[in-house]
Symmetry: C2
Subunit: 393 residues, 2 copies
């Protein structure tokens, strides 16, 4: 049977990451390849209490179909948190609960992207966004990401040459690089975007996980009418419930809700109720502090080990938050070749290739520090350092 598939599905890059992760499930392998939050920090007992309470007090209501917009009380809670933590005024009507941030990306693609329209994306960029948007067949324009943010020269020339429908980025502690856009960089990016009709997608799953450095102001606070802001409970509560949200301007909400309804009617409502009960009965900030402290220790352990064991030519990010660190090998070295050796020595990471629109044998590597204890981090980085040293000499 020919042509059974839609053209759009053929455009989606196969998840090379998925294949890599399969090779790293072996228990002997020290894996910096994952992208998971540390499961030791999940509030298991508190979630148990919240589940019981929701069923005792609300019973059938928590198990019935619900609204596509998401649980209003939860949307109000998110609105209040934006006000208290970031000084942002967000109406609960401008918040849509999504099945993880990933669904936010799909809804944006569905609602906004026509085939062949231009989508600018930071590079390296988040693979899940490339996948989600690919289904709507845009032309991607890569904007290089540096240690302080987007490459402004490329951004300016891109906006001069093309009508950019969307620009996508993870400005805080990005996956894969751990890099952030500086406030100065954001000022310039916002200025360029505000001179266009482009929508900026500010994907912020890691913003709450800042463990050092100065707080940076969101794009949403700079250009609210041109920003869609995505948030997630996956990294500060638990990922398996698949609860995220999007904040969007009035003029976009109605269509986003229609797209949401067509996609899965609504997000798992029992989970929304459990989460809201948890937020009522517990101090989320205290919980987040624990996560930050743990991840800071893990990040510090990785940075120290890199200083000790990696050859001096290797550049790397020292992230202020999040779960990832980015290492840059000398230009001629393919991190895939390093990966092949590393896996034999039972240490894994993600080679940079999948995080670029169109590049193979990139010289970059993503190192996740949130799932490995400090001692094992040192052992793993020592192994990696030896492989890299051998490789480049």
């Amino acid at each position: 049977m020919n042509h059974i598939f839609s053209d759009r599905i053929s455009d989606v890059p196969k998840s090379f990451l998925r294949e890599i992760l399969k090779t790293t499930v072996n228990e002997d392998v020290i894996s910096f390849a994952g992208g998971l939050p540390n499961r030791d920090l999940f509030p298991i007992e508190e979630i148990k209490k919240a589940s019981v309470k929701v069923l005792d007090e609300f019973g059938g209501d928590a198990l019935q179909y619900s609204t596509s917009e998401g649980y209003l009380e939860l949307r109000k809670w998110i609105s209040n948190r934006y006000a208290s933590k970031m000084g942002l005024s967000v109406n609960p009507d401008n918040i849509l609960i999504t099945t993880g941030s990933q669904q936010g990306l799909d809804l944006i693609g569905k609602t906004l992207i026509n085939e062949s329209e231009h989508v600018a994306i930071e590079e390296p960029g988040y693979l899940g966004a490339i996948q989600a948007f690919s289904l709507y067949r845009p032309r991607f324009l890569a904007i290089p990401l540096h240690f302080d943010g987007l490459d402004l020269e490329t951004l300016r020339s891109t906006f001069q040459s093309y009508t950019v429908k969307l620009i996508y980025g993870v400005p805080n502690f990005q996956n894969p690089s751990g890099l952030s856009h500086s406030d100065e960089n954001r000022d310039e990016v916002a200025k360029i975007v505000s001179n266009s009709k482009t929508i900026l997608v500010e994907d912020d799953p890691y913003g709450e996980l800042q463990f050092q450095g100065e707080k940076r102001r969101s794009y949403f606070s700079r250009i609210p009418d041109q920003t869609i802001l995505l948030g997630s409970f996956s990294k500060i509560f638990a990922p398996s419930l698949r609860i995220g949200w999007m904040v969007a301007p009035d003029r976009l909400m109605e269509k986003l809700i229609i797209a949401k309804q067509a996609s899965d009617l609504h997000t798992n409502y029992f989970g929304q109720r459990i989460l809201f009960q948890y937020l009522l009965d517990n101090d989320l900030d205290l919980h987040i502090t624990k996560i930050r402290e743990k991840y800071l220790k893990q990040k510090d352990a990785m940075v120290s080990a890199i200083e000790k064991y990696f050859p001096k030519e290797i550049k790397y990010s020292n992230p202020d938050g999040g779960m990832f660190l980015w290492a840059i090998l000398p230009e001629q070295i393919s991190s895939r070749a390093v990966f092949d050796l590393a896996i034999k020595e039972k240490v894994a990471f993600v080679p940079g290739d999948p995080f670029y629109i169109n590049r193979t044998n990139a010289n970059t590597m993503r190192l996740n520090f949130s799932c490995v204890d400090e001692e094992t981090i040192e052992t793993g980085i020592e192994r990696l350092g030896k492989i890299i040293s051998d490789f480049i000499r």
Copy 2:
């Protein structure tokens, strides 16, 4: 800002149903307009026990990210149930867990439908399918649904005139009509489809809710290589967890999984674990028997009341299962006009219009019986009967 939206989102019919349901939330209104399972039958205590057990025994694992395919043990359970209940051999690798059946429809659209390809759909048809597929901009071809199944003459001529990419139907106790395809009708439909390269989407959320009549064999058992079979736990367990599944042939699975991953990474895994624990520790068949007995009583109450209070000209379905009954007014009468009067008399139903591709002032009405007790059903149907009698005289 002009042209901000994608063309595809402009094609999605606004949910007229959503608007109708808003007018019926008033507590005074006897509503046959809903489409919800009866919340009194949700196994609240059992779900509570399952939630606690999952967290006690599996803790962090149940709260972590998981695989896009869905929980393997749950997929095996579904496979076993197909074997034991329907004599069907389905490999767990051909089962994909979805965020409700609704997501199954979205994934089918994403993976299979190119713009302007033809999708045949029974008429009246399930609104959620029309919405989900609309996003992928097919041309819909309506196949009239009669009391015994699809109109075969229209089906044959449609397959002769067009290359039909997909044909969609709910062959058991359909929403909105409560009608089923007879075994003879299925034989003929399967024959026509098997002479083409068309994929038949067999959406079966109500199959387990059969309370009378003979069991009919699935399309999947007739033409497995051309069928995608959708199932759901929403009507036999609880809808708020948003857990459904799809069964698809080998050649489609890889692309469906890629589409799934791009859409929301995976379905709420905590919910999958709770559901599986519930299935391990409880007798689902016993639970389903209770639902069937309750719905049968409600259906019988509605049929008796219709016999008593509706004018004799009104035709109606007497469904063997599910949650809906379909009434057909004399041809010149618009059920929307009847609705406007009914809502003033505090009784509601869904006028037929939204269930057709392109029709206004249809003479049909959807009556839901699963959420109203028998006594109230009689009162509501009495009111409706009076309105209809006045209207047609």
